[in-house]
Symmetry: C3
Subunit: 159 residues, 3 copies
């Protein structure tokens, strides 16, 4: 049965598409890691947002004091949202770019810079590193996405 | 070079891809429902965030008192953001997984668990159910996405 | 009808797919613009959220006073989040819709209304225009996405 699948698409045999699949999966897994880091800080800092999450700490005022914001939790959450804002465009534009027939070398360059930039951005945000570390890593990922968008529009434009 | 891409045919006739299309559409519609629930609570609780949204309640202080946060509104918004954080990875990794030639039975299992987990998560968040209901439903969707990511990387890895 | 889908070759040479690629890229670039507008307001309003971002303004209390929220910054951020909530469903459902063999005319209508609606929504949010401008532009994009989801489920349903 999976043999039929292979005949059908052959997408996954295309090197550019395989590179897209690899780097997209890596960068999405990295984004998913933010959920675990948020949970880790919520538990170690005892900073929750839902009353039902503090029930195990007792009742009434005793549990209520853990319904609070914590700077470390908020920092991870901002990093997570920034991931969403930047990885969603990469997901969509990168797919269309991979289907627009780029040179393998050029495509790999784009995917690698984007992935490296987002990993650097996460370290710059969470450690945190002094600016402009976070700003530059954000800009690198942004620029690569614009470059892919340009190629997509140049190849496929149909208004 | 884009000729290689040309071999792509009959995506929508492929059963695994049809299953992906079905469950992805269901889970995205479920996420879209969160916007309507937020709007419902904003209107019934009279809790708005934009001054222009309260203009129909009159002018000045009379309208200003409706610019406030409401626990029910905030709860739906947290559920919506959690959907984004988890459904975006499913959207991307699930697509690549569907193209990686999984067995139909295995693919259906992944898609069904993910969709069921996210629907359960929404009920657990909005009712709310006591923990660990929400935590477990979140973890089920997360684990299924990791499992699909593993299959994608095993099939397509090209660094 | 889904047999017609089968003839789909050379995705990027297919007119419906090219239209999807074009409008998706435009709407994702529009979403990315929100990051730049946020940065512009943060800098001109001097309203930051990370201590490391205010280091260039000096040390201690001198820099600390710029760690604050600003109504214009918050407004752009809400517009950005609303984009994420609505463009992610379009990205996924629109792709599946483009692969479900719609008429070119119908597909173009859907993509154009969605893109126009989201651009209008951004102006309505940022100027801001009086309601129901923002509400109606949001609803137009929402309705178009539901319509595409219906076509996908009608063509591909496999539970």
């Amino acid at each position: 049965r999976s043999g039929e699948m292979a005949k059908l698409t052959q997408l996954i045999d295309n090197e550019v598409f395989r590179a897209y699949a690899t780097y997209t999966t890596i960068v999405l897994l990295k984004m998913m890691l933010m959920s675990l880091i948020t949970a880790y800080f919520r538990i170690t800092r005892k900073a929750f947002v839902n009353p039902e999450d503090t029930a195990s700490f007792g009742k009434g005022e005793n549990a209520k004091k853990y319904l609070r914001t914590d700077p470390d939790v908020e920092r991870v959450r901002r990093g997570h949202l920034n991931d969403l804002e930047n990885i969603v465009p990469f997901l969509g534009i990168g797919l269309l770019y991979a289907l627009s027939g780029p040179e393998l070398y050029t495509a790999l360059l784009h995917f690698r810079i984007f992935t490296g930039a987002r990993i650097t951005h996460t370290f710059a945000y969470l450690i945190p590193l002094p600016q402009p570390s976070r700003g530059l890593s954000w800009a690198a990922g942004y620029a690569v996405t614009i470059s892919m968008a340009y190629k997509v529009l140049k190849t496929a434009l149909y208004l």
